[in-house]
Each structure stands twice: as structure tokens, then as C-alpha cells.
């Protein structure tokens, strides 16, 4: 993990530029295609949401920072398709444009039977993919209890692996605000190590715990954090 994506609290990004409420959903047609191709490839069933997030984070820092949002998506998708054996580098290099050969000459792709069909789109999008699971791990923390985030904010299972503990909260003290039940653990699921579900909490942090110069003494930040990200105080 490069951590280039983990930008909460970073200085120097300049103003947020609001856009009109009636601006088009996609600023360009290719952005719509990038989203649609990504969702359609997800339906092939060769990865989960945590693997796809990690693929975006694993772009080189130069690419991640230089690319626009949907460029990150489409580039990570191309990497993932090759890594998971759906396409080959030769496929990408040929870009599907080989001379004198058309689709009829290609042997059927082993995953072709999983292709998302137009008539299935509505049902697939409406169904979603809930992340809640039964877990054999009991909740260790109760509402209002003080906890501290693990520090540093690294994946404990895989060196340099995916984690959803933002660096700005590492080591910070917070309070259990809400229990969401048990959810798939991204640190494991992003690396094909299983879903490893465990209790997930909303944890409340005082802004003055996180930042040296908070804007207001009463401001708060709330993070969803897995049990293994937290230690009791």
C-alpha cells in the first residue's frame, strides 16, 4: 500500500470547487463508460470490493496523483483484469484490434457465461452486496467506552496491505458511538485471505484529539472501525 490515497487531514489541496446541482452526472461520456465497464467486470466474480479498492491504491503514487478519478478506476481495472487472469498483457497490447481476425475466430472465454446481461442489470444493481456477516468474534467494546486506534495504521496480516484505518486516526483516543454488527474485514478480504468478519463500530473522536489546531473545540470526527483496529483504554 502506498498510502497515497489516504489523504484525510493533508494540507495544501486548495479550495473545494462546488458544482452546480444540475451539472451532468458524468462530465464526459468516457467517465460513464469507465463506471459501467468497471461494474460490469465486477459481475464476472473474479474479485471483491476490497480487492478493487486495493487495486486503485496500488497504482504508483505518480499515477494516482496524476490521474483523474475515473482514470484511476479504469487503470486499476486493467491491472486487475490481467492480475486475475481475465485478460493477458497481449490482449491489452493488441487492444482487440488485430488485423484479419474477428470475434468469431476467438475461442470462447471461460468467463463468458458470467457476462452481465442487459436484462440482469437492474436486479444486480438493486441487489447490492451487503458486507454484514455472522462472526464468532464477540463485541469487546460497549457504547461510550474509550478506545485507542492501533498505531501505526498498517495492515497486520500483509506487509504493505490494504487497510481502512486512516493514518490521521492512528493512535488517537475515541469513544464507541455505535455498533454496526459484524462486517467483512477488508484487511483480510482484499488479499484473498477470507472475509474474517468481526465487529464494526462507529468511533467518535474529538477534533482536538486529532488536530493540533481544531477549528472548534466541540467538533468531532466519526470513523467506522473494525474491532481489530482498536485497543481498550
Amino acid at each position: 500500500m502506498t498510502r497515497v490515497h489516504d489523504m484525510g487531514g493533508r494540507f495544501g489541496d486548495g479550495p473545494v470547487i462546488p458544482e452546480s446541482l444540475d451539472a451532468p452526472v458524468f462530465a464526459a461520456d468516457w467517465q460513464a463508460r469507465a463506471l459501467a465497464v468497471t461494474l460490469a467486470c465486477g459481475a464476472l466474480g473474479q474479485w471483491n470490493i476490497d480487492i478493487s479498492r486495493h487495486a486503485r491504491e496500488r497504482l504508483s503514487p505518480q499515477d494516482y496523483t496524476g490521474f483523474s478519478y475515473y482514470q484511476i478506476w479504469i487503470s486499476a481495472l486493467a491491472d486487475l483484469l490481467v492480475e486475475r487472469g481475465v485478460l493477458t498483457e497481449a490482449d491489452l497490447a493488441g487492444q482487440g484490434q488485430e488485423q484479419g481476425q474477428d470475434q468469431a475466430d476467438d475461442p470462447a472465454h471461460p468467463l463468458a457465461g458470467r457476462m452481465l446481461k442487459p436484462e440482469a442489470v437492474a436486479a444486480v444493481l438493486a441487489q447490492g452486496g451487503p458486507a454484514s456477516r455472522d462472526s464468532d468474534q464477540r463485541p469487546k467494546f460497549s457504547l461510550g467506552q474509550a478506545v485507542r486506534c492501533r498505531r501505526p495504521a498498517d495492515n497486520c496480516l500483509v506487509d504493505g496491505g490494504h487497510s481502512r484505518l486512516p493514518a490521521y486516526a492512528a493512535g488517537a483516543r475515541g469513544y464507541i458511538f455505535r455498533l454496526h454488527g459484524s462486517h467483512v474485514l477488508p484487511d483480510s478480504n482484499a488479499h484473498d485471505l477470507g472475509e474474517a468478519p468481526e465487529p464494526l463500530y462507529a468511533v467518535r473522536f474529538a477534533a482536538r484529539e486529532l488536530w493540533a489546531h481544531p477549528e472548534h473545540r466541540d467538533d468531532q470526527v466519526i470513523l467506522d472501525l473494525w474491532q481489530s483496529y482498536l485497543v481498550a483504554l
Partner: protein, 208 residues
């Protein structure tokens, strides 16, 4: 200039993003792995069928129906599912209510998590580095970028969506809206007010 590192497969595709996605779509279509008609269907769904009008209906109902409001605050996933709003990126919903004491805002500092079934695809600013980086540290300066100023004694609570839980902000109901029906109320609820970077709009004034 950004450049692609040659050890990444994506570097084999054209650098121009429109050509890059076109090339990938062409390869995948040719291999029978994606169907362009299905892609059109996905795009039509998020361009025309799913958007912040869904969330606005939820807020309007919460404003005018105490029983629904209680159900929404207690189990938003169930409450919005009953209205037909469920699906990808909205599997686990939590509704948070703005009051005089607390103003809620939502971000995903790690990527761009957002409640698609209620608000649609996020706007560009929500996905921008500036919003992701700044709103957890200086939410009031970010609000100023949107022209919003809060009362000095209102606390800001920023929800950073690090898991699959998605948050919907219920803005405060504006004064003078007692007689309005659901559609008139929903018209006062903008996308940004349900993220927390705007307030609900005041009702149009009757001409004097």
C-alpha cells in the same frame, strides 16, 4: 505530466482516458465479457433513474411523518428499503439528523464512498482530493467554500465512511414549511444538503 510505469498492465493501453476506456471496452466486448447494451443500461440507471431525488423524498417524509422519522433514525436500511431505495453502495444505511447543536457532514477520505441508491453518483467535488483531505480537519473552511456559515455554538460532526456503512444527512426543516406537501418539501432538499455541505432551502415566498 503523469506517466504510466511500464510494469503496470494499464500502461499498455492508450494514455488518453477516453481511448483507454474505449480500448478496454472493445477487448472485453470482443471476448464476450461485457455487453455494450448492459453498459448502456448501467449508465441510464445512474444518469436518469437513481439520484438525489430519492434521498430528498426520504428527508421530506422524515420531516412530515414522526413515525417514519423514528424508524429512519433507528434502522435507516430497513426504512429506506421499504420505500424501494436499496442496492449497490447503499446496503448499510445510517441517517443522521442535523440540529441546532450538531451539523453533520459526510466524506470518504480513503476513496469516495457514497450512498448511491439515495443520492446517485457523487459529484466531482465529493471525489476531489481537496474535499477528502480537508473536510475532516477544517470542515468550517470547507463549508465557507460552499457559502455556508454555521452558528458559533453549533458543533460539526464529520462522518468518514471507512466501511460499507453509508450516511445520509437529514438537514433541519426550514421554518415556514408547515403546510407543504411531500413534493414541495422534497424540492427544498438538495443533494448537497444531504451530504452536509449545504442547508435545506427556504420555501419560495408568496408574492406580496
Amino acid at each position: 505530466m503523469p506517466h504510466d510505469h511500464s510494469d503496470h498492465p494499464h500502461a499498455l493501453l492508450p494514455p488518453d482516458p477516453a481511448l483507454r476506456v474505449k480500448a478496454l471496452e472493445t477487448i472485453l466486448t470482443r471476448k464476450g465479457l461485457v455487453d455494450p447494451t448492459a453498459l448502456n443500461e448501467i449508465i441510464d440507471t445512474y444518469q436518469n433513474k437513481i439520484g438525489p431525488q430519492n434521498g430528498a423524498q426520504v428527508v421530506a417524509r422524515a420531516w412530515s411523518d414522526a413515525e417514519f422519522r423514528a424508524a429512519l433514525l433507528s434502522d435507516a436500511t430497513a426504512a429506506v428499503s421499504d420505500l424501494g431505495y436499496f442496492g449497490r453502495q447503499g446496503e448499510h444505511m445510517v441517517a443522521v439528523e442535523n440540529t441546532e447543536a450538531v451539523h453533520n457532514m459526510v466524506v470518504c477520505t480513503l476513496c469516495s464512498c457514497y450512498p448511491w441508491p439515495l443520492l446517485g453518483i457523487p459529484p466531482a467535488w465529493y471525489k476531489s482530493d481537496a474535499y477528502r483531505a480537508r473536510v475532516v480537519r477544517e470542515p468550517r473552511k470547507v463549508l465557507a467554500d460552499f457559502g455556508v456559515t454555521l452558528a458559533a455554538d453549533t458543533a460539526v460532526r464529520v462522518w468518514d465512511s471507512t466501511a460499507e456503512v453509508r450516511y445520509l444527512v437529514i438537514p433541519m426543516r426550514p421554518a415556514g414549511t408547515e403546510g407543504l406537501d411531500l413534493d414541495a418539501l422534497a424540492a427544498l432538499v438538495s443533494r448537497d444538503s444531504m451530504i452536509g455541505t449545504a442547508l435545506a432551502q427556504n420555501p419560495p415566498q408568496d408574492p406580496v
